[in-house]
């Protein structure tokens, strides 16, 4: 369905409780981010322009059906970790659609180190990164974080959407090298990628136990319904002091 703002429709943009995220109030409420590259779309997402005095500010609508982080925010996660000025290591960047919104949030004072193994998606990612200088595109294997050690500093937030059976281990390997003590992690879990023979809730509980064994302190779990079926996002802290 088209929905959302049309030409001439009255739209109000308000800050969300997460800095860098905005609520776009129109016919329906949506969330969005303030575009770092006005005039450009990344995946044909809707744009909303607001005139503020002399300047036009452009926001891009963030579709929770296409982004697990957007679904996590709309699911009511209490702490996101991703905020203006922070450094994010993003595993499973795909074509960079969600990465582009994360880049909008962290702004030019922050950076997103976006890792994607598929060369096909990697090409789109590299092209998106040409328009956003705070995105560091890394076409390499997140299972072997040592391979990209020349490119990544210590980061504040580690996000993973890799849909692999051993994704908790992949998260831990990357955290061991790159996530600051007290840094936050967010991982998206697709139940049937890990074990399709048991109930999703059982898979989620097991994954949380695995994360604990690996030095993470999970704090909250959000199921991504209705945007994704049998998906959850787990957020927490790494090596809290």
């Amino acid at each position: 369905p088209r929905g959302g703002p049309r030409g001439g429709a009255k739209v109000i943009v308000e800050p969300h409780r997460f800095p860098g995220v905005y609520i776009i109030r129109g016919k329906e409420d949506m969330i969005g981010t303030r575009s770092l590259a006005p005039g450009e779309t990344v995946y044909q997402e809707k744009k909303v322009q607001i005139q503020e005095g002399e300047i036009k500010i452009e926001y891009r609508v963030w579709n929770p059906y296409r982004s697990k982080i957007a679904a996590t925010i709309l699911g009511g996660v209490e702490q996101l970790g991703i905020r203006p000025g922070c450094k994010v290591l993003y595993l499973g960047a795909a074509s960079g659609t969600t990465v582009s919104h994360v880049a909008d949030i962290v702004g030019l004072e922050g950076s997103v180190y976006a890792v994607e193994f598929s060369e096909r998606s990697g090409r789109d990612l590299v092209n998106m990164a040409k328009k956003r200088i705070n995105v560091v595109p890394i076409v390499d294997d997140a299972r072997h974080p040592i391979r990209y050690r020349m490119l990544v500093p210590m980061v504040d937030v580690l996000f993973a959407d890799v849909a692999q059976r051993d994704q908790a281990r992949i998260l831990a390997l990357n955290a061991q090298h790159y996530l600051k003590n007290g840094g936050r992690f967010l991982i998206s879990i697709k139940a049937n990628c890990i074990d399709s023979t048991v109930e999703p809730s059982v898979v989620f509980e097991r994954e949380i136990e695995t994360l604990k064994e690996l030095g993470f302190v999970p704090e909250e779990m959000i199921t991504l319904e209705p945007y994704e079926v049998d998906h959850a996002a787990v957020s927490g802290v790494y090596r809290p002091s």
């Binding site: 060369e119 040409k130 890394i138 002091s241």
Partner: protein, 170 residues
């Protein structure tokens, strides 16, 4: 017995010198704690040598070798110039990549490499404080170098056939 730490970044190779692993090995918890404080961390390791890459192409060539677990001749020269003689001095070289010792032993047969939980922690500290520890070099350089190198490296991966766009369909 000292330990040297080989740290590879987008801007160049660096070698840090630290107390022996045996000496600090039993203090893993305090190492973990000290890496959050630069002042305390500097008591454990200090910069010994740094060799900047001078060209973007040079950084890319080195990254491609490092990523594959091999050494580039620049790394070989850097180590030859900056490490004490292995025969006269007893020390270990700490590395982040467990594939590197095999490669390095081809050129330094007597060199003893090390990688364990403690060296991993030290490398976290070096990565954390690199900008401050490498005084005299522009701080912004590393982030800028990483961005440029990431583009070059990733482009080289997705466009293995660089002539792809020059082919005409006849």
């Amino acid at each position: 017995m000292a330990t040297y730490y080989l740290f590879e970044t987008a801007t160049g190779y660096s070698l840090f010198e630290g107390k022996s692993i045996e000496e600090i090995g039993g203090l893993l918890a305090s190492v973990q704690e000290s890496i959050t404080s630069l002042k305390r961390f500097k008591k454990i390791v200090k910069l010994h040598a740094f060799m900047p890459f001078t060209l973007a192409e040079q950084a890319l060539e080195n990254m491609q070798e490092i990523s594959a677990g091999r050494y580039h001749k620049d790394l070989k020269n850097f180590l030859k110039m900056n490490m004490p003689s292995v025969k006269k001095n007893k020390y270990k070289l700490a590395v982040e990549d467990s594939r590197l010792p095999n490669a390095l032993n081809e050129i330094f047969p007597d060199l003893c490499c090390i990688k364990n939980e403690t060296t991993n922690e030290i490398f976290r500290g070096i990565r954390m404080h690199f900008d401050e520890m490498i005084e005299g070099f522009d701080v912004k350089n590393l982030a800028r170098g990483q961005l440029g190198l990431a583009h070059a490296y990733s482009r080289s991966k997705v466009m293995t056939d660089i002539k792809r766009y020059d082919k005409h369909i006849i």
